[in-house]
Amino acid sequence: MTQMNRISGGLIDRSKTVNFSFDGARYQGHAGDTLASALLANGVRLMGRSFKYHRPRGPISAGSEEPNALVELRGGARREPNTRATVAELFEGLDATSQNRWPSLGFDLLAVNDMLSPFFAAGFYYKTFMWPKAFWEKLYEPIIRRAAGLGSLSGEVDPDLYDKGFRHCDLLIIGAGPAGLAAALTAGRAGADVILADEDFRMGGRLLAETFSLGDAGGSDWADGVLAELASLPNVRLMTRTTVLGAFDHGIYGALERNADHLPVAPAGKPRQTLWRIYARRALLCAGATERPIAFRNNDRPGIMMAGALRAYANRWAAVPGREAVIFTNNDDGHRTAQDLAAAGLRIAAVVDSRKEAPRSGDYPIHAGAVVIDAVGRKGLHSVDVRRSNGEVSRIPCTTLGVSGGWNPNVHLTCHQRGRPEWDAGLAAFVPGGVLPPGMTVAGAAQGILSTAGALASGAAGAVAALDALGRKAKPADLPRAEDAPVSLTPLWHVPGKGRAWIDPQNDVTVKDVKLAHKEGYVSVEHLKRYTTLGMATDQGKTANVTGLAVMAQVSGKSIPETGTTIFRPPYTPVPIAAFAGRSAGKDFRPVRLTPSHKWAAEQGAVFVEVGMWLRAQWFPRPGETHWRQSVDREVLATRKSVGICDVTTLGKIDVQGTDAAEFLNRVYVNAFGKLAVGKVRYGLMLREDGMAMDDGTTARLAEDHFVMTTTTANAVGVFRHLEFCRQCLWPDMDVQLISTTEAWAQYSVAGPNARKLLQKIVDPGHDISNEAFPYMACGDITVCGGLRARLFRISFSGELAYEIAVPTRYGDGLIRAMVKAGQEFDAVVYGTEALGVMRIEKGHPAGNELNGTTTALNLGMGGMVSKKKDCIGNTLSEREGLNRDDALNLVGFRPVQAGDPLAAGSHFIRKGAEAVAANDEGYLTSVAYSPHLQSMIGLGFLAAGKSRLGEVLRAVNPVEGAETLVEVVSPHFVDPEGERLRV
């Protein structure tokens, strides 16, 4: 197919032809084209369907503000919905499809919505689908979602890489139009560290779209010259294809760089996009301005676009939507489009200027005081109806219409920290207000200076001022002569009359909708926006918000500043979720920590479970075991019968040293540590200041001024943070130092009657670990396996004779292999966290299920441990009356009355005969397990005054599953209640 609407000139590279397809049809464009410019060149004006009414639409802009021309790019897992064709850079093989139409873009059955538009006015969701309520979720919402929509996701995993980066600079210049280039030149020559960022793939901004000269050069030639100089400066970084998306606290700017969106596939190992965090000492916003439409009947026909976009397509891309143009304007800038199009060889059928005085800008019909009242051509414009100043209406054939309602400065980033734009009556537009994000200044069109000469001068001056604020002297770059026309405009927001006139084409919001909202009592602009959906979705109302506000002002009889203002939030343009995720995707989304003997456990076929960030072995299936309980029961029975080994490396370990270390522990644990002998271990319970249990563990005294504390796996980080708070903020003069040694030591529990015999084969001769020399709760430095430094603790979680042995991390793998080998003669097993859990429940030790943030020492049966003779965290508030009532919950054990009955953790206790309602709730079951020792389910739980109710029979009610079990209240110590096994 030929490029029928390609004209001469432009900044495209005609030596490079690029093949692409749209909705299956093949086309050709050139390097330097966007998808929109190439489609226009090929005679394609219809590029999408509107959100609600499925109206045929074409592009209205040539930039990122585009509301209409949203397409899907690429296929398969790389499919990318809702991409603006106006900024999608053409590449060889680009495959684009239209959205929100069925069965095809040309023939869309859901266009019936357009006929039904009276039912779809503002707020129709709220009015129409109110009743019956049950229909909403099942019927209305799915239908609306299917009918009103944008593109769809592939549903597959994104195969591309995304990255994050950090940059620092003295001056961040946002936008590389005339203001930004003049600023960069000024600051760059002064030696400042400058970043110049622009969302376009080619820098120059409006200079690329205009025919003005700067000095003796064309605008784009001047820009190229400046860019060449900037590229040669080592202190200037040019970031093309980079959108500065938000201004955040303390001079931090977010920016999205599209590294490879212009390529079919990113180079191997390179990111497709990078999300930058730019730390800028100063920032200069040179973001330009966005042209706004004038609303009139059917102003959304394909072929109608902003006048400035029309000349951008002609001047930069040598593409036009048609050869016969009409211009509709309320200002002088619209006439520039007529001049440029005429010079490019288009026939200007008319310039319709709503002002009574219109300039004689060229040799074509100019209708002063006239307006366009309708546009004809559903899938492509073919004529417009014009009402002249004398009231006469005539139809003018044309294939494109350029509309100019004036320009809105791009104030978006000035609003990101609550800055409110101010109304400038001369421009009839909002300009940046007095309060800007700290460190930011604004120059050029973004500031409301719309001439080229003004933009250049304000950019240079902005750079001088920014550097001055940093204590650097700079002189403004010498600037070329440039166009310096004043803004001449008489506001016109919409043309009154019948039919629907579109303000926000993306959300199908019309003048009528705004009027309706006003009639229904909407006064606040923010409410208006939400009710009508004005300014929502991908374009965030860049072309629509000010016009909507102006129409609201008109119907309410107020001025625009009285009506309100509209501010913007980040991001400036849409950012893919993948870019926010960066490398934190797939397995890197949630990294895991592995213990030193993980590889060994994996070799044994261990089944792993996530505990915090750790992967821990849950059980070790043996051949023939088909159910996890078989493995767990075997591990428990073998450990209690002979010996078992368990990896407990994940427990938090905190090294506590200093002359005040013992006193420090006294203050953070409820029980006393001052008199703990060197070479001994003690269990400690830690409270929060509100008296609730925080964590527990054992602490060993290795020397007078040296302790090693253990915490639970889950709370290791929080406990360490808490201890640092206590040390630095509460008792700053204590001589105590803390360091986390969790990852420095590999630690294993060796438990069971043969634990000592096994260890004696590992521990070097010379270290006596007999019961007499190394009794229960002893600890000490030893060596194992012929000189390897180790720590041994005689502590038990299982209730058996048990030790924990620690070696430096890199020897963990070797130690477990050596212990398993040494244990063969005792039929030693390795057990996982499930068996660990069964044994601690059998023994009645509380764990995470019991230390759940709502339980006190008293609840846990450790009320007596709370020393009243010393200060400690949580001591005072643990004495509150409400926490010490006679009917307070006590930790007790439970067994089903019928041995085979199930028990479910979370069940609540209700007396027999009482109704199972919250008022009769007497406590709850926290942990359950099958005890192979007792051949029954057993449980731990909290029961009101439970300690005095042993032997009572209650109902454990599980309303979630509609089940209940009769249970007997028993001691929580199911195995060896006297603790004799620990001490043998």
Binding site: Y279, P438, E663, R721, F725, Q728, C729, P732
Partner: protein, 95 residues
């Protein structure tokens, strides 16, 4: 946000975890009169100022200093940061 660490210079707020009002430094005397009431107020009563707020931040991904940061809650402007240990000492805390 950037937090001006008194020892390490400006650091990104992502390196820190936040606790809350710096009044948590002023832990009451457990043997004082009305200790229970004093602890209740210490733990549960907070001002919620629109403006300057002194608050505790922990440099968890850094040097593990607890800092007292003075921040304007309306603008997020940070007036300064001190080591919490120095603040605690100045407020009469010792061992």
């Amino acid at each position: 946000m950037l937090i001006p660490h008194p020892l390490l210079g400006p650091r990104d707020a992502q390196e820190f975890t936040y606790l809350g009002d710096a009044s948590l430094i002023d832990r009451p005397d457990w043997q004082g009169e009305d200790a229970a009431a004093a602890f209740h107020d210490y733990l549960y009563q907070r001002d919620n100022p629109a403006g300057l707020h002194r608050e505790l931040w922990f440099h968890e991904q850094g040097d593990r200093s607890w800092l007292v940061v003075t921040r304007n809650t309306l603008t997020h402007e940070i007036m300064g940061a001190e080591l919490a240990r120095d603040v605690a000492r100045a407020r009469g805390r010792g061992k």
